[in-house]
Every structure is written in C-alpha cells, then in structure tokens.
Symmetry: C2
Subunit: 272 residues, 2 copies
C-alpha cells in the first residue's frame, strides 16, 4: 500500500501490469475436499490462493458474506492481516455493500477499516450521501459505490430513467460531483453491458471501476476494456472469483488458480 487506496491501485496497474482482482468467495461447499475438514479451511484456502497469485493482481476482494454465513469473521481478519504483512503493496477491497444512516454507517466504517483493516469497501448508494459520509471521510481508504451491477435484476431500479437518464448515471454523477471530495471513490460497473460502462466512463473521468461479471457471469473482456479503459489504459479493477479460485478442487487448486489468473490477466492485457 502507498498512503491511499487509489494510489496503490495505480502502482499495481503499472508494476504488476495487471487490472485483475481476484475475488475471495470461499464458499465452504465448493472448497477442495481435502481442506474441508479443517477448522481453518477458509484461511488456508484463501492464503494459498493469495500466495499463488500475488504477483498477478492489482487487488483482492474478499466477500464478507462467505465468512459471515458460518461465523468465520476471525479468518477474514486473519486473511487480510496475512496480506498486509506479506504483500503490503496489494490493496484489499472488502465486498460488504454496506449502507445505513450516519451513526450506524460509522460503525460499519469502523468494522471494515479498523476491525478488518480493509483498504476499501463496497457500499450501496440507495440511502444517499449522508449514509456514505463516514466512509468518504476516511481519505486514505477507498469507497466503492454500487452504480450499475452485473446481475439481471440490476435493471429493475438502476435503469429507470430520472430526468432523461438512467438512475445509475445519476449515481455516477453524484458520486463524481459531490461524494468524491477526498478523491477516494470508485464505482461498481458490471462487465455485462459495455454500452452502459462506456457511458459511465464518459461521466466520471478516470475514477476507478470495480468490474464484476467477467467469466461466470459472461461478460466480454474485449468489449469491456474498450468501454471502460481510461486514457492511461487503466482505471479498471476487473474481478473474477469462481472462475479463478475454483479452477480445481484437487490438491493443485492454488496452482490451477494461478494458471487461470495468468490467462485472464493476459487476456485483459491483450486489449489494453
């Protein structure tokens, strides 16, 4: 880590030559069977993946739900600590999609940044800027706001027209114009609709996008690069979770994850 989240991304986009983010979704039912009996299976699995891919990524994105469903918060904390100790230059985006009123949002910010020591967290914009403020105030941390998500249901409200443009564009505009006083905001923009990504890119300069939906969700790499790259040929944090971490459920799972990460990093770089 440099002194802030977005600075760290910029460093790794260049020094690792990578826009790839590996999503850590350690679904217990999908872990390699030889691990599943261990109490520390989730920690072991995640850190083996990290050791096998650390030179290939610009970030890791642990999804808190896969730890919280079975009371494994302590292993999440330990995974992040492991990265901070061994690979301190790699930022951690805690995918938590938090959002609540001010006093409660302060607690959530504390959870993400002080308890778990994440470098960035995903948040939901529905409750407005005051619900985001305790996160935004942490200038060294990244605040990754849901804009246009990659799931089918993303259209239900995000695509509704407000003043002639879809709601997700309004979210992008407000984040860019009002929420980003500390230059620490990023947006979640799914890979599944490049036209939407192109439009959002035109609104927010070189603000980083966290991009889900490549791989398992079917997003097209060439199209999303064309739509989302900044002038500096970066600006994207392209996440793949299942497509990388569950490449094998044998003892070679970490090596297979490395191979999948190399393949996706290289495919991405082909179109940069």
């Amino acid at each position: 880590m440099t002194d802030n989240f977005i600075g760290s991304l910029k460093n790794l986009w260049t020094s690792h030559n990578s826009l790839l983010c590996v999503g850590l979704d350690p679904n217990l039912s999908l872990l390699p069977p030889h691990l599943s009996e261990r109490d520390d299976a989730v920690f072991e699995f995640c850190t083996a993946i990290i050791d096998a891919t650390h030179d290939l990524v610009c970030a890791y994105k642990p999804q808190i739900a896969y730890f919280a469903d079975t009371a494994k918060e302590e292993q999440l904390r330990a995974v992040i600590e492991y990265v901070k100790n061994k690979y301190p230059h790699i930022p951690i985006i805690l995918d938590a999609k938090r959002g609540d009123i001010g006093s409660t949002a302060s607690m959530y910010a504390h959870e993400a940044f002080d308890r778990f020591k994440a470098d960035a967290v995903t948040i939901n914009p529905y409750m407005g800027q005051d619900s985001a403020q305790p996160f935004l105030d942490r200038a060294d941390k990244g605040v990754v706001v849901l804009c246009r998500t990659s799931n089918a249901g993303g259209a239900e409200f995000q695509d509704l027209l407000v003043g002639g443009a879809p709601l997700y564009e309004r979210v992008a505009r407000n984040v860019f114009e009002h929420w980003n006083k500390n230059d620490n905001c990023a947006l979640v923009v799914g890979a599944t609709n490049p036209k939407q990504m192109e439009r959002v890119r035109s609104l927010v300069g070189d603000m980083p996008f966290l991009v889900p939906g490549v791989g398992a969700q079917g997003g097209d790499v060439a199209a999303l690069l064309k739509a989302g790259l900044t002038e500096a040929k970066s600006g994207l944090v392209i996440n793949s979770s299942r497509g990388i971490i569950f490449s094998s459920v044998e003892e070679d799972y970490a090596q297979k994850a490395r191979e999948a990460a190399i393949a996706l990093r290289d495919e991405i770089n082909l179109y940069r």
Copy 2:
C-alpha cells in the same frame, strides 16, 4: 412466534396492544459505565432491556453494525437466542440492510436466518429482485425492504421521479406486485415525512411498515399514525432505539428504558 413473521406481528399488535419496536443499538461508548468493563456488556445490556420491555413491544430490532464493529457477533447470536427461549412470541428483526447477487445473497440469508436465527431482516432494493430472492424464498421469515428512509440523504435518489412518481414509490409497487409472493414482505418507511408514508400506504394495502425516525430523528407520532395505519389500526412497527435504551446510563437503565417504552407505546396508542 407463530409460524411466520407477519403473523407474529399481528398477534402482538393485538395481545400486547403495541406497535412499538425497541431498537437494540448497543453502542459501546454510550453504555452505562458500570457495564462497560464487562466482556459481555453488550449481551447484559440488551437482555436487561429486553426483560424490562418484553410486554410492551411487537418486535425487537438489533442493528448488526453495533455488534460487528467490535467483533461481538457471538453476543448478537446469544441475545437473539435469549429472546427465542424466554419470549418466543416476540419476533426479531435483524437490521442489516443486506443486498448482493444471488449466490452471495444466499449466504447473507443464511447468516441472518440460520446463524443468528432472526425472524426478519432488512434488505436494500438497489440490486433488484434477484438479489432479494434468497430472502423472499424463506416464506416463514420477514423481508423488510428499504423504501423511503428517514435520513436527510434519503431524498438524494429515493425521491427522484421515475415515470412521474418518486423512486421509493416504484420500490413499494414492485415489492407489493412482484416480490411479495410469499406474503412475507414489509417496507422501511421513515417517520419524518407523513405525506410520503400516506402515499406508500395507498399503494401496498396492509403490508407492514418498519418505521424509523421517531424520537431522536424528530418524527411526529400523531402524523405518522394518521398516515400509516391500516384499516385494522395496525400495520406499523414503530422503532425507537436511542430514545428508549439510553434513557439512563445509571444502574437504573433498564427501568428507565421501560418507562420510556411505556410512554412511547401509550403515545402511539393515543392516536390509533
């Protein structure tokens, strides 16, 4: 609890003659000083409040952020277990405002309903129905969807006009018409704007509203009752957190919470 969340609410609206929900926000920095040294301060505080108010409420609403910020999930689980054992007729609404894509939402539903054994959970609608489906599929559980929140920032996106009506009305309509196949949905509608509540009530029949914003946030009880009551003079779960639980920071805190709960319950009933 009866066999489902909304059935339990209906029972207590009548048998306890109460629309009051006590919000359990055990902010460590606000707890009575004589408790704050104890490892189980949060559990002790919450269960004392519960013992002092159980006959006055239609629900309890623990806010998970106040447990998660300092790794007290086990105390949250224990508080809910305490209610399930001692007061099994009282439903627990876990205020978590979750929302994510399908596979992750399944994990969050598991967290709320199986790990913590809550009877209902608050969720954020921004990602659309598929993000809510794993919650909606739990027919015995309640799914409380953010509609119009009580914070100042709630207006930023929720009040934007889509097709001539504000976004929060579209959320209410979609939940009522499409999400509520199991009759297990409720809506968060803040107390701070009775006109908005009246409008939402006109759209969704007798769907329950979880109503934040009374007390500390300044909502007017008479106006919100007029706006939100159903024909059966119920349909509201009116939450007060700080206004009740932090009525005293002395050793009499539970008794003072009881007095505050009686006062608010009675004020509410004055206008039913």
